[in-house]
Point group: C2
Chain length 231, copies 2
């Protein structure tokens, strides 16, 4: 095979690109290093020149995704003159809008990501995103506390818990996806929707707000998203 030399950074991110596509298509464990290097046109040795192991590559990928995801919220977080509650709702609204915008692609990704046996990929990404997201959310909550809008002792702990809750609906979605096609599908969807409805209230109460202040999940959003499919 002809030898092509590239700038290390370029090669590295290229390998990450191909790996990401494959991981999200087949899952982490079902993707072999050979698959990745074949797509990337690199030898085994070339791969291991850039990554110490397949797992280290996953870590690098998770870190990159975490960076990307926090970057998408930068403007919302830095917009001046926004009250804490408005900022928080803008944060959730942005999250919803992005999900709707490429719902089909995300749906396909979730189908893979949430299948049991892909826990590694799912939780590795989660583990990378949380520490990046916590300070950001904590800042909003601290603002709200300073404004006297939120009633909360520890903004940082509250941020962790809010993110925890947010992850909870993902778990419920995983259960619903797993149940798809079985008789329990409808029940799982109902459970998912009721959990999503409660999620907003739970967040309100944790932050000391009146019920209904936070709009985390819009009514109908779940069903719309769950039925989105790549055409």
């Amino acid at each position: 095979m002809p030898r092509v030399v590239k700038h290390p950074d370029a090669r590295r991110s290229e390998l990450l690109d191909f790996a990401q596509a494959l991981f999200f298509e087949r899952g982490y464990e079902r993707t072999t290093v050979s698959d990745i290097i074949e797509k990337a046109g690199v030898s085994k040795g070339g791969f291991y020149h850039h990554f110490a192991s397949k797992e280290e590559m996953l870590e690098a990928l998770a870190a990159r995704l975490a960076q990307e995801s926090v970057a998408r919220f930068e403007d919302v977080l830095e917009a001046p003159g926004l009250g804490a509650l408005a900022r928080l709702n803008a944060f959730f609204a942005r999250s919803r809008r992005m999900k709707i915008e490429d719902a089909p692609r995300l749906r396909a990704m979730f189908d893979v990501l949430f299948k049991p046996g892909n826990l590694i990929l799912h939780h590795r990404i989660n583990a990378a995103v949380i520490p990046v997201m916590v300070p950001v959310l904590a800042a909003i909550i601290a603002q709200g506390k300073a404004e006297g809008v939120f009633d909360v002792p520890e903004p940082k702990a509250a941020a962790g818990i809010v993110l925890q809750l947010n992850g909870g609906i993902r778990d419920a979605m995983a259960r619903a996806i797993e149940a798809e096609g079985t008789p329990a599908a409808a029940a799982a969807l109902d459970a998912l929707e009721s959990e999503a409805r409660f999620l907003g209230i739970a967040m309100d109460r944790i932050l000391g707000l009146p019920d209904g202040s936070i709009v985390a999940v819009e009514p109908g959003f779940i069903r719309a998203f769950m039925s989105a499919r790549e055409e």
Copy 2:
């Protein structure tokens, strides 16, 4: 090797016993099927006569652990004449007492379970415990709602969220364990304690109780547990 025939159920649970010991000692991935059959004194074929795959065995083990863990709460859940709040606190108290009783063994287990790379084992157990535990907690919450003590729309969704939160401190513990020995250890422990403190308040608020009603984690418990070590 001499052939020993046993009752299928006995052999099966025996294999699970040895596997459990090994999984909690080295983790799921680092334990090979050969390790298990060596300890159990069974051939490869014998193993695969009882389990379709290593993963199916993990599932069976998780299910068994889930059964065992819910069984430990039976008396608390069925004790007559207990108010919902008292029952809930009895539930948490039992959980704490059990943890303290064999803290050293649990600590050693957590050390393995929470190491990154053992996500599979950890979350597989979790995934098995949650569906078993949700109805149980939901029953308590429904009781509280009927008594007019809890203010909560959907007991089942609330149960899922409370369990979700409970799992959250485990994640924080995982982070603290990971940080052990590094300069960030003290900070991680502080974060863990503050999250644990907030946990009770968060549960109170979600269930519509005044702050301080639920005692999920006693002060000092975390530090005591984290410093427990096998002698």
